[in-house]
């Protein structure tokens, strides 16, 4: 009998591993967002970053292949959602959009459908590019994904037939409240958790541990990676769209090197091998970054004002990254999912 459950079973499912991170993300988002409008905006952006870090966790965390290319999917998602929700009057009259291809001028979707379209666009773009990229390993794969980021950026930055090129696309409809981005992120967290437990996630982790042994068990590494890349592209497309709907504008520069560095730093600081790592990394790096940004602008944080030179934020986050890589290479979570502290586990048992 036990063997039947083994064949299909989600072998590591634990209620606390998924429930507690959900509570932490939902609770802290709702609590902080009610305190001020600036904190509400910060929480909305943090949720966008968390969506992007979840996307990276699905692929980078499970495959061990570093991807710099996920910003491409976020760019595509942002452009699709931005163009779908920007008012017609802006698309017809904005200087930056004067050469926009007519079908894109006429392209119109509501917010919900535009988010869906952006996720599909990100997933399709990942599927198309992943067919080639997933054949590469190690350093070559990382460099190739970086090339993808550069190619996508330069196409979108220099072509004003498919978007605003190097200008901003204004008037993108914004999230009216925290509800939609929060629900999307919570749903994504549940999906990513179950993906990590699924046969596909497990198989991808096996390829990360030992490429040759995996092939010796009949695992087609290219196909397994490709499917994961597609799923993570879908989440990245959604993350890009959410970012556009928080900021109310789309600008391709927002998704390039800074965005890539920032989101990868979140993943590595938290720990790339688990959902909990992605959540922790996003919270820690976003929090530190926001505090440093405010001090760079000489704004008090909890009554404390420190005058920091511009650029401190990036230096500190890069420093955090180095420290983590040196002393805790599996990130703050150590690659583990959330676990109750021992004393609480004992209380629960007794």
């Amino acid at each position: 009998m036990f063997a039947k459950s083994w064949v299909k079973g989600l072998t590591r499912f634990s209620f606390t591993e998924i429930f507690i991170p959900l509570i932490i993300v939902a609770g802290s988002s709702l609590w902080l967002s009610g305190r001020s409008t600036s904190l509400l905006l910060f929480i909305k952006f943090t949720l966008c970053y968390l969506m992007m870090v979840l996307s990276l966790q699905v692929f980078v965390g499970n495959s061990g292949v570093l991807s710099f290319g996920h910003g491409s999917f976020a760019m595509v998602g942002a452009f699709v959602s931005g163009l779908a929700t920007a008012p017609l009057v802006i698309k017809q009259h904005a200087m930056s959009l004067s050469n926009l291809w007519q079908p894109l001028v006429d392209f119109k979707l509501n917010l919900g459908m535009s988010l869906l379209a952006s996720a599909i666009a990100g997933g399709v773009f990942a599927a198309l590019t992943g067919g080639f990229l997933m054949r590469l390993n190690g350093l070559a794969a990382g460099i190739a994904t970086f090339a993808l980021l550069g190619i996508t950026y330069n196409i979108l930055f220099n072509n004003n037939h498919i978007g605003p090129s190097n200008q901003a696309l204004p008037g993108v409809s914004q999230f009216s409240s925290l509800t939609l981005p929060l629900v999307l992120v919570l749903l994504a967290m549940v999906l990513v958790y179950f993906y990590n437990l699924s046969r596909l996630g497990r198989t991808l982790r096996a390829t990360r541990e030992d490429n040759m042994a995996s092939r010796g068990l009949g695992i087609n590494i290219v196909r397994v990676r490709w499917m994961s890349f597609m799923f993570s592209g879908l989440l990245a497309g959604l993350a890009g769209a959410m970012y556009a709907h928080v900021g109310g504008a789309v600008q391709v520069q927002d998704y390039y090197l800074g965005f890539t560095f920032f989101t990868l730093a979140m993943l590595i600081v938290g720990g790339s091998a688990s959902l909990w790592g992605a959540v922790l990394g996003t919270i820690v790096v976003s929090g530190v970054s926001q505090i440093l940004l405010m001090w760079e602008q000489s704004t008090p944080v909890l009554g404390v004002t420190i005058h920091l030179p511009i650029g401190t934020r990036a230096i500190v986050i890069a420093g955090m990254l180095v420290v983590i890589l040196l002393w805790r290479p599996n990130g703050i979570s150590n690659g583990n999912e959330f676990k109750l502290p021992n004393f609480l586990s004992k209380i629960k048992v007794s």
């Binding site: 063997a3 590591r12 497990r202 541990e209 030992d210 042994a213 068990l217 695992i219």
Partner: protein
């Protein structure tokens, strides 16, 4: 019926030739042992048969079908599995998850649960440590898991590379009695082993490999004669 046929197989790494014109064949249910000193190409032979190394020339047929040069993932689906030297279990995954991965290469998915029950009966460690991280198992337990995981793929031919490596004598005895049971169940075994006496007990034939060539072949009776085995192993001629 010949289940595995190797003919004029040449293999190596880059410009280095390791295996030279290897030819032998096995019938279903047979066990062959490959013995020889370090560095003569024993592991290279198994890896070439399993598809991990592309052969330079020659033919490898499994059940009459040419598998030479095919990908390892295709070969395992055709019915040939390798338990590599060093086990290569996935240390970060649990015992159960390691076994589930073995199901990927299994052609008949409907009988997956019977396969798991079968290997659990052979190797009780699978049930007693099912949720334990595989990397935390002892060497002997890891070897049992590696063999069980390969068996899950439902191989007609099972290749084992140095299964006794790093194991205590009592663990080795237990392991080889399990291999005997696997053989009796009809799986063809090709075992590379430094400790020749371990395979001579039940192998139908011993191939002595030196300098990339099969230098000698001993049948079951000759292989159990220690003098003949020593002479063949050290290249003094089996029949002197």
């Amino acid at each position: 019926m010949q289940i595995l046929e190797i003919e004029d197989l040449n293999s190596g790494y880059g410009k280095v030739d390791v295996l030279l014109d290897i030819t032998f064949s096995m019938k279903a249910g047979q066990c062959f042992g490959i013995v020889g000193p370090n560095g003569v190409g024993k592991s290279t032979l198994l890896q070439t048969i399993a598809g991990a190394i592309k052969p330079k020339s020659g033919s490898i047929k499994l059940l009459g079908n040419e598998i030479s040069g095919r990908n390892p993932e295709d070969i395992v689906r055709s019915g040939l599995a390798l338990v590599p030297e060093g086990r290569q279990i996935f240390g970060g995954l649990t015992v159960m998850e390691n076994l589930q991965l073995g199901l990927t290469g299994r052609a008949d998915k409907k009988t997956s649960h019977q396969a798991i029950e079968h290997v659990a009966e052979l190797f009780p460690v699978i049930t007693t440590h099912s949720k334990q991280q595989a990397g935390l198992l002892s060497g002997g337990q890891q070897q049992q898991l590696a063999i069980a995981r390969a068996l899950i793929t439902d191989p007609k031919v099972l290749l084992l590379d140095e299964p006794s490596l790093g194991l205590a004598p009592n663990i080795i005895n237990n392991l080889f009695s399990n291999l005997k049971r696997i053989l009796e169940a009809g799986t063809t075994l090709l075992i590379v082993e430094q400790r020749a006496n371990l395979v001579t007990k039940f192998a139908d034939e011993i191939l002595i490999l030196r300098e990339g060539l099969i230098q000698d072949r001993l049948n079951k009776i000759d292989a159990q004669d220690e003098n003949k085995l020593k002479k063949a192993y050290f290249g003094l001629g089996a029949n002197e």
